[in-house]
């Protein structure tokens, strides 16, 4: 129920942002502004409503996947991880849009505090499986192409090896020394 309500909070904010944008757009038209002028002047609210509509869609889709019929096809352990990711995504997204939500949903300080507690708790839960989850994205080393992210985690060895590959290290003394540095240092400025 709580997840549903977080999604609804975003939908409710999107709905009311749309309502206000429509109201202000209509008022502008009524005041004699042309359609393009009225649209331009309502642009901030329109983009905010559109963004919230998108957030509502993403969160709703996530909620449906985790709580819908598909859950029965997955193991309980996997479902638990997906539930934690959903919780994290919902709480984090609602916090990001708290200013928009607070405009239409009267939350108390305690209720906002509870969200912070939920965030800190779910971070701990997700942290336990973080490495395994990203392993599950199934991106092999050659796809990542990163000295920091390889599966074996031998970060420092790889960083040093990549430094050794720098073309600058092919010769012990660079051309710039003979050409510029040495004359410069001996010029006794």
């Amino acid at each position: 129920g709580s997840w549903q309500q977080l999604v609804e909070a975003l939908q409710y904010a999107a709905t009311n942002k749309t309502r206000l944008a429509h109201q202000h757009y209509t008022t502008r038209l009524g005041a004699g502004r042309t359609q393009p002028q009225a649209l331009n002047e309502t642009g901030i609210e329109l983009t905010q409503a559109a963004e919230l509509h998108g957030r509502a869609f993403v969160t709703y889709t996530f909620l449906q996947e985790v709580t819908g019929k598909a859950a029965a096809k997955r193991s309980a352990n996997l479902n638990r991880v997906l539930e934690q990711l959903l919780e994290l995504y919902l709480v984090h997204t609602v916090q990001r849009h708290m200013a928009d939500i607070l405009r239409f949903v009267p939350l108390s300080e305690q209720q906002i505090d509870d969200l912070q507690t939920r965030l800190e708790l779910v971070l701990k839960q997700v942290r336990l499986n973080a490495v395994a989850i990203v392993d599950g994205f199934d991106l092999e080393d050659r796809e990542l192409s990163s000295v920091l992210g390889s599966y074996d985690g031998n970060v420092y060895e790889r960083i040093l090896a990549s430094a050794k590959k720098s073309p600058m290290n092919k010769r012990p003394v660079p051309v710039a020394f003979e050409r510029y540095l040495k004359p410069f240092m001996r010029a006794k400025l």
């Binding site: 944008a21 969160t59 994290l88 490495v131 192409s145 970060v155």
Partner: protein, 473 residues
């Protein structure tokens, strides 16, 4: 393997392969993805080499990779399911192709848009004549819409296509510098054909934007054809191998049959047959926007994988205390972990829009255009949100790796370059949000009039009826 990562994997509470199968759709798809990755990376050069190459050498290497991977994937497709599309071109133009090519793919627009537009916007005859050649790479093309002076605002495009009924030709012309086509991937020096989006004029009267197939280079010599001013636009923040180009047209004549006429048509006598629905012109972009959301989701997955593993290996603490993993610091968790959830959220949302696209494509073929505005709105808002979120999240992942994230060898710079481009290509994000905002205005009109809303907007009607938000639980 680093002992910290061994410990992390031992402590996991779920089966990683089950997660991966779910993430990719099912076990078969995951297996196919692994097979393709293995095949594509076989014998590939070290990507770090690209970092020390000249601009032109990076482009040449990009073309070499694109050509080799195309051949390999076509061969795989022929072995697994001849004529199918599950490997080629779907994966080449999306996740695998991009991940494999840190410099970008100079033929991505050919795969993603040129071939799709010839098929979706051209008549059967046009597809037979040019589409099949494009599918077989006998010709390579791109999709030139954006101009130096106009981007997402399509009605402002200045390139003209005037119909000349005496010769049964269109005359394509870029009347000002601001009308020069700008940005299309591969346009610089790779393609020999191009779909040009231009304002159609018949007897001096505007008929709106339409698509025209223009040959820009000789098929044998690859030299630009008369009237064509074409070249590379120079270095960008990322994607040095994509060969983004410019195109000026000086009264270039093409036969009438080279306007893509599946929907709107110009007949020999100059009469104009309108498209049944104007949004059909935008349908190829809906497909691309869903693909962009997928692509950026996987860029973020790459970055968050790098940052999470690094955060588990890196240890840091105050002096005289045992060094904990940085991932045990809640501030580091706050930087990295929400983005793991974002990858899953956007993967699911992009999949949903992808499914809706395919359903709508079937409906359109059957003459039902009712879901086009909804799909347009969803693909716009998802592309905008996903590209913005992933770009800034990738930058956060770079910072979460401390100074080492700034190394080119960390690859986070390349990933950022690839992801951030999506904030402006295929529609600058604010402009897309404005388009969605207009659709929402119209939907609100439907709410007030108690008309039925599009399924993914139906919540507007339901929640509009609430006097207040229910008791917070």
């Amino acid at each position: 393997v680093n002992p910290d990562l061994v410990k992390e994997r031992q402590n996991a509470t779920f089966d990683v392969d089950e997660f991966a199968s779910w993430f990719y759709g099912d076990t078969a798809l995951m297996g196919m993805k692994r097979l393709i990755t293995e095949e594509l990376y076989r014998g590939l050069d070290d990507p770090l080499d690209l970092e020390y190459m000249s601009y032109e050498d990076v482009y040449t290497a990009g073309v070499k990779q694109a050509v080799e991977s195309t051949v390999r994937m076509r061969n795989m497709q022929e072995k697994i399911n001849p004529g199918g599309t599950e490997i080629y071109p779907t994966l080449l133009s999306g996740l695998v192709g991009n991940a494999m090519m840190p410099a970008g793919n100079p033929m991505a627009v050919h795969l993603l848009m040129f071939t799709k537009a010839l098929k979706g916007q051209g008549t059967s005859e046009q597809y037979e004549r040019w589409g099949k050649r494009a599918d077989n790479f006998e010709i390579i093309g791109t999709y030139a819409q954006t101009e130096l002076g106009h981007g997402t605002y399509l009605r402002g495009l200045q390139t003209r296509a005037d119909y000349d009924r005496r010769t049964d030709e269109f005359v394509l012309h870029t009347p000002h510098i601001s009308a020069y086509k700008w940005w299309p991937g591969g346009l610089g020096h790779t393609v020999n054909y191009c779909i040009v989006v231009a304002q159609l004029y018949i007897d001096g009267e505007s008929k709106g934007i339409h698509l025209f197939l223009v040959q820009v280079r000789d098929e044998e010599t690859h030299r630009p054809l008369p009237g064509i001013d074409i070249g590379d636009i120079g270095k960008k923040i990322g994607m040095p191998g994509v060969n983004n180009g410019y195109l000026g047209l000086n009264k270039v004549r093409i036969p009438r049959i080279q306007m893509l006429m599946r929907n709107a048509q110009v007949l020999e006598d100059g009469s104009y047959v309108k498209s049944p629905v104007s949004q059909l012109n935008y349908f190829p972009m809906v497909y691309v926007r869903a693909a962009v959301a997928f692509g950026n989701t996987f860029f973020l997955a790459q970055a968050v994988t790098i940052a999470t593993r690094y955060s588990a290996v890196r240890r840091q603490s105050p002096i005289n205390e045992p060094e904990p993993q940085v991932l045990d610091h809640i501030t580091q968790q706050m930087k990295v972990l929400p983005e793991i959830a974002s990858v899953v959220a956007y993967r699911l949302a992009a999949g949903q829009v992808w499914s809706l696209y395919h359903r709508t494509a079937k409906d359109v073929n059957a003459g039902d255009y009712s879901r086009l505005p909804e799909l347009h709105a969803l693909s716009c808002t998802l592309k905008a949100a996903c590209s913005y979120d992933s770009t800034y999240a990738i930058e956060r992942m770079r910072q979460s790796c401390g100074g080492h994230g700034y190394l080119a060898a960390a690859n986070l710079g390349n990933i950022f370059g690839l992801a951030s481009a999506a904030c402006t290509y295929e529609g600058e994000n604010s402009v897309l949000y404005l388009q969605v905002g207009k659709i929402l205005l119209k939907a609100w009109g439907d709410v007030l009039a108690k008309r039925q809303l599009m399924p993914t907007m139906s919540y507007l009607g339901e929640l509009a009826a609430w006097k207040q938000f229910p008791q917070w639980t």
